[in-house]
């Protein structure tokens, strides 16, 4: 702050609070929607304050038969599927990117740059632009309706590889020299020096990739036809379709809430790592 203008500071707080309110409004309405009876959500105007049915709805959503007229798995099962998918994507991406970045930075071998550019190209091929042929590959390999089919095609990562490459390049050369004098081989050096030194970067990337994995939509939509494999994010769409016949907005909003909570919790609880991860991966 460069000058003392109390009025301007008050204005700043008012604008910011207003901004927070606008941003939070959709979620507030979701919480309200999730805390009333289904009948109440059919009368206009819909309530703007939470009701007392929140935990009743929560129990019904998590363990009940779910929404009438839909073909979705129980919500707890879909939450578990989402969790497995998000963890597999995040861990898989980090693991293969650490290894390939290590090879590219610390080894001199034929076709090194060829591999580097091949990984770089994946940046230009998001799932959205090669939907149909990738789907055909998965179908041919018999990976439809499996966790492998859901995750493996998404775990190649140019951004993660680049980020680790940058991190490794900042590790002083003396580290490797002394490790070699002490008789450490490449993998020993990788485990005992490279991994510990990039621990915060790994954590920051994990936060971003967990959110990325949890929020996948188009890919699981195509790969999972089996209701047992359905993820929570995909199920929302099915529920919205069913809502046109039998509107149970309280259950839909509760499911939406449950689908949002894990990634939001990660962002807020690990805010520092999240910010670091965001700024690093986009460089």
């Amino acid at each position: 702050m460069v000058e003392n203008r109390p009025l301007l500071s008050i204005l700043a707080h008012i604008v910011l609070l207003l901004g927070v309110a606008i941003v939070a409004l959709p979620v507030w309405i979701t919480i309200v929607g999730a805390s009333h009876e289904a009948e109440r959500m059919l009368q206009t105007p819909i309530p703007m304050l939470p009701g007392d049915q929140f935990f009743v709805n929560l129990r019904q959503t998590l363990w009940g038969s779910g929404l009438e007229g839909t073909n979705t798995a129980p919500v707890w099962m879909m939450l578990m599927n989402s969790m497995i998918m998000a963890l597999m994507i995040a861990i898989g991406k980090i693991a293969i990117s650490l290894l390939s970045a290590f090879a590219i930075v610390y080894f001199k071998f034929p076709f090194r740059m060829g591999f580097f550019w091949m990984i770089f190209i994946t940046l230009m091929l998001p799932v959205e632009v090669r939907i149909l042929p990738t789907f055909e590959v998965i179908a041919d390999l018999g990976m439809l309706n499996s966790y492998w089919g859901l995750t493996v095609p998404l775990i190649a990562s140019a951004t993660a590889t680049f980020m680790f490459r940058q991190v490794f390049l900042t590790i002083p050369d003396e580290m490797l020299e002394s490790a070699r004098i002490d008789g450490a081989g490449p993998m020993r050096f990788f485990w005992d020096i490279v991994i510990p030194l990039s621990r915060t970067n790994i954590a920051a990337l994990f936060v971003i990739l967990f959110i990325y994995g949890w929020n996948q939509y188009l890919w699981p939509l195509l790969i999972t036809t089996d209701t047992d494999m359905m993820t929570i994010v995909v199920s929302i769409k099915q529920m919205l379709e069913a809502a046109e016949q039998s509107p149970q907005w309280n259950i839909i909003m509760m499911t939406a809430l449950l689908a949002m909570i894990p990634p939001i919790f990660v962002v807020i609880a690990m805010q520092k790592l999240f910010v670091q991860g965001l700024t690093e991966t986009d460089k």
């Binding site: 301007l8 500071s9 700043a12 707080h13 604008v15 910011l16 901004g19 927070v20 941003v23 959709p26 309405i29 929607g33 009368q43 105007p45 819909i46 293969i96 290894l99 390939s100 290590f102 090879a103 590219i104 930075v105 610390y106 080894f107 001199k108 071998f109 090194r112 990984i119 190209i121 994946t122 230009m124 091929l125 632009v129 090669r130 939907i131 149909l132 042929p133 590959v137 493996v152 190649a156 590889t161 490794f168 390049l169 490797l176 959110i211 929020n215 939509y217 939509l221 994010v233 995909v234 929302i236 769409k237 907005w249 839909i252 939406a256 949002m260 962002v267 805010q271 910010v275 700024t279």
Partner: protein, 293 residues
């Protein structure tokens, strides 16, 4: 790029890059080349015969009014999302940069929508704007405005734009705030001593100094609106009414999986790939410049 001190060649580095390279080959390069190959083919309705037709699919697409409309619509959609969410984020970041206490609290309160999946953002806005029970149609009706995005194409477009922009505010806010906080205080103090008020300082010092961030965010938002908003459109409008919200990515999905037009869908994929390459090149060229200010 390579370390000055490094390990000699052996089998090991190949094993290390193998997982990444194998996945890239099977799930990226092979499907992408298939898309390119299929874009030169026309398959008959029963899948019995395919014919190699060179650029006929592309010619057809470029003459197709639906495709050209969807192209223009996608550009309008992206521009609107970027403008809306960036200007909202810029205003908030400008004020957050001013407050001494609490700017981290505001940051916490504003960044979480980043974590909401696009399809969920769509679901929330669909609920708020549901013509029968939504709160906004109810309020709009009181002032005599009739809201039904199932019938009105412009309303449907407006709805997907604000849902997409809402989710992106968090990201833009974070980068704008970081950019503003990295401006040396001495510059702003010097301007204040010279008598420049807050608005003048913002317009002549802060905004020009963060212009690299603005450009960076413009590219990121365009990429987001092009490729990551499928979930919002799928949940809220399914491209309708009457294709009024069918963007390019939605059209690839729709023509490929619902319409089963392989050649046409592949040709669209190839055009999209070209667009991604252009955007990536812009992004990388710009990042080299960003360092210098």
């Amino acid at each position: 790029m390579l370390k000055r001190v490094h390990f000699p060649a052996s089998l090991l580095p190949y094993l290390l890059v193998a997982p990444q390279v194998i996945i890239t080959l099977i799930f990226f390069i092979w499907p992408a080349s298939q898309a390119v190959y299929q874009s030169f083919l026309i398959e008959d309705a029963f899948g019995f015969s395919t014919e190699f037709v060179w650029f006929e699919n592309f010619e057809y697409l470029l003459q197709d009014d639906h495709y050209r409309d969807s192209f223009g619509r996608t550009i309008f959609f992206s521009a609107a999302v970027a403008f809306l969410s960036m200007s909202f984020a810029l205003i908030l970041a400008g004020f957050a940069d001013r407050v001494i206490r609490g700017s981290t609290t505001y940051r916490t309160l504003l960044i979480w929508p980043y974590a909401v999946a696009p399809v969920l953002a769509g679901a929330l806005f669909l609920f708020m704007f549901n013509p029968t029970i939504g709160i906004f149609p109810y309020l709009l009706e009181m002032v005599g405005y009739d809201w039904n995005h199932y019938l009105n194409g412009s309303q449907a477009m407006f709805l997907v734009i604000i849902a997409a922009a809402w989710k992106q505010v968090a990201y833009n806010f974070l980068f704008y705030l970081a950019a503003m906080q990295s401006i040396p205080r001495s510059i702003i103090e010097a301007a204040a001593i010279d008598g420049a008020g807050p608005i003048r300082r913002f317009a002549t010092i802060i905004f020009p100094l963060i212009s690299p961030t603005t450009f960076f965010l413009l590219v990121i938002n365009a990429v987001y609106a092009f490729f990551e908003t499928f979930g919002i459109i799928h949940a809220v409008t399914q491209g309708g009414p009457a294709n009024s919200t069918t963007t390019l990515v939605y059209k690839v999905y729709n023509d490929g999986f619902i319409g089963l037009d392989l050649g046409g869908s592949a040709a669209q994929s190839v055009i999209l790939m070209f667009l991604v390459i252009v955007m990536t090149v812009i992004q990388f060229r710009f990042i080299e410049k960003r360092v210098q200010y």
